[in-house]
Amino acid sequence: MSRNNWHLYEVFIRSKNGLAHKHAGSVHAQDAETAILSARDLYTRRGEASSLWIIKSSDIIASDPGEAGELYDPSDDKIYRHSTFYTVPDGVKNM
């Protein structure tokens, strides 16, 4: 999409070990090394990261929002998958 041939990369940050990487935004870069360095300069200026992932935006495979109905709605009525569906007698604790 860019006329100057710089690729768009998506940036994921792990703020500290034990947590998952979370999408932070994107950067333009020529290659993986510049993408990592730019992501570091752009998204971790306040010590937000213990680890960075970058991936070319064009390599992300996304579900189609138009198919959201068929993909996700069928799980909406399967309330028995949630613990709140069940009643536990009053005297029973720690379940």
């Binding site: 950067v27 333009h28 870069a29 020529q30 090394e33 510049t34 360095l37 730019s38 300069d41 752009l42 200026r45």
Partner: protein, 263 residues
Amino acid sequence: MPALEKYIGAKHTRNPHTIYMLRLADNALILGQRLSEMCGHGPEMELDMAMTNMSLDLIGQAKLLFEHILTLEDLAPNADVLALTRPLERYSNCLLVAQPNVDFAHIMLRQFLFSSMQKRQYEALLNSNDSTLAAIAEKSLKEIAYHIRFAKGWVLRLGDGTKESRDRMADALSCLWRFTGEMFTCDARVADAVEAGTSSDFTKTYSDWKLEVKTILSEAGGLTPHENTRMIMGGHFGQHDDNLGHILSDMQFMQLSYPGLEW
């Protein structure tokens, strides 16, 4: 003239430990100042941010050093007076760091040549008998490692990129290589600092440094510094070229226009 009477600039020092730390601080300050000129003007927004980051690191290093100096010796009422009010001939930075931001090739090569020297210079401080100085060096070395990684990457990209970028790198090399000898000269102030236990003698690593740098340069589109380049020196002893005066006229503007005030 009451304002002038009240105003006291930075005092001289004869302590070799302090003199050496002033050199380190001035190098970081002047290069940080040079890089800060690019803030808002970088050739790409991402590169603008990267240069500002390096500027922040370097001015931060300088600030720590100036503040530390003042804990040992009463040269000025505060770090700003020490950093920002001395006359030109009392700045002891090497000539390389004051070289202008001709283009991104010059900026990256200047950074690579300086940071790869600074790494050796600061490693030699890790066993200093001044433990605060050693701690400052340890903290700074992490920043320096990043500066080298960034600048080296761009030296390679520009040297081995297009014909135009290679020409620009070649020009940068012919301009800047002349100032590298000064950084590794074991002059009287280095010798005094070694004797005082401030630092070990990092200038002994000059040939290792040359080998390392030349390897990268040759990877960068076969760049080679001219074998018989005449090295130019002077900055370390206050003999500067045309650049520093202009840098100071900006940097000292407020301190000299309004002496002795708080900001």
